[in-house]
Amino acid sequence: MSNYFYVAPEQLIKDRAEFAQKGIARGRSIIAAIHDVGVVMVAENPSASLYKISEIYDRIAFAGVGKYNEFDRLREAGIRWADGTGYTYSREDVDARALANFYAQHLGDMFTEGQKPLEVEILVAQLGNKFRPTKLYRIAYEGTISDEEDFAVLGGDAETIKKRFADLERGHLPLDQTLKNAVSALAGPDRHLPVGDLEVGVLEDRGDRRTFERLDDGQIARLLE
């Protein structure tokens, strides 16, 4: 015979939220910011092969913090969704907002119905063109989706980093300046982040169809000079 204990829904939600927040807080943070001609995403990531920032489609990028296996699965689903949609309709029809909504629904479902909520926070960034605006959609572990104006911070220490970055950033600056600000906001006053611990992805128009570029250590070092 088993006993079922009554748990108030408020308590259940609170417990689940705490569980997810704890998991996310263990990881390092990511800043994504709109610069003068594109979007730059900066992560603190000592691994040179397990990426947190990736290409989804021609003008869409993905960033995730928290449990690697969980957000990597979401990244793969995003690439499949984007390639499948572009194949079925047209490349122009692949829209970051639709993808962000799917992510939000999935995270929301997992939060309320899953065995455990996903311990991730993700970002879908879109580089604008004449049909679509440049956008940063942040999606939290419980499915809350927010349309961030100029920059977004993901991860445990988001509020502090957000404040530090907001103090430095004045409007849409050039890439090198935005990157410098992001790195100093991630590091904080007492730490120095070596180039090897940084992962940087950029969405920028260079005349190609695909706009995502992962910067290597040399490129990052030159921009930070």
Partner: protein, 263 residues
């Protein structure tokens, strides 16, 4: 389409085709004899890569289209050319382009050139054994790992064969192949290879009614492409026009007789 999430056992991996099949994105094959086809495409290896030249005409019972692009960049270093059903061929190119990019994004590394060539085999086999709309592609590219140009051709059942010299596909093959057999040398420069490949297309168009030659009236010329360490490059129309005008002028001087010093 919803968010395509799979559990670890049923995950289609980085293959776009497998994913598309599992999700019902790919149309089932149907058969019909209404298709535009017939083509000549040649690929010739030279010391620093591969050149490709293709005619531009789509033919059914009549000329269906005069400016078809039968060679496309499958990715930065790979070109895919098609012969056979135009509908299936163009779809095939789209699927190959998407598959290579999909793999790259999913795994954060590009497929090797041989990997790309092998990936196409089952696609060709499935298409050709389930449909009368046969498609036969030709894959050529710059192999980044081995720093050389490589050419892969296929048979109707999807068998993939690497060629060391040159390859020809399409209805004008016998004439193009003969030209290449006589003219091919192992130490050709890019210019030699382009001139020879263009001549092969010229000869094919001369004898095969389903292969389009240079069209001086409409200013449409066969597509000329090079694959080198710089990647896929399509030659501009002026270069293609000049190349074919030269061949045509020589042929006019000889009174239409092929062969000899005026070839």
């Amino acid at each position: 389409m919803g968010l395509p999430l799979f559990d670890a056992q049923s995950d289609p991996g980085p293959s776009f085709v497998r994913f598309a099949e599992m999700s019902g994105l790919m149309a089932p094959s149907t058969s019909s004899d209404l298709s535009a086809h017939a083509t000549t495409v040649v690929a010739v290896r030279f010391d620093a890569g591969v050149v490709m030249v293709a005619d531009r005409q789509a033919t059914s019972y009549y000329v269906a289209n005069r400016d078809v692009r039968k060679i496309e960049a499958a990715d930065r270093y790979t070109a895919l050319a098609i012969s056979g059903s135009a509908a299936r061929g163009l779809e095939f190119i789209r699927l190959a382009q998407l598959s290579f990019e999909h793999y790259e994004k999913m795994t954060d590394s590009s497929l090797s050139l041989e990997g790309k060539a092998n990936y196409l085999s089952p696609l060709i086999q499935r298409n050709n054994l389930t449909s009368t709309l046969v498609v036969l592609p030709l894959l050529a590219g710059w192999d980044l790992a081995h720093q050389t140009g490589r050419v892969f051709e296929y048979d109707g059942a999807g068998g993939c064969y690497e060629r060391q010299d040159f390859s020809v596909i399409g209805s004008g093959s016998p004439f193009a192949e003969s030209t290449l057999r006589l003219g091919f040398r192992t130490d050709m420069s890019r210019e030699d290879a382009l001139a020879l490949a263009a001549l092969a297309i010229y000869e094919a168009a001369d004898n095969d009614p389903s292969t389009g030659g240079p069209d001086f009236v409409r200013n449409i010329f066969p597509m000329m492409v090079t694959l080198t360490a710089e990647g896929f490059r399509e030659l501009d129309q002026a270069t293609a026009a000049a190349t074919f005008r030269l061949i045509n002028d020589r042929r006019a001087q000889s009174g239409g007789v092929a062969g000899g010093t005026l070839r």
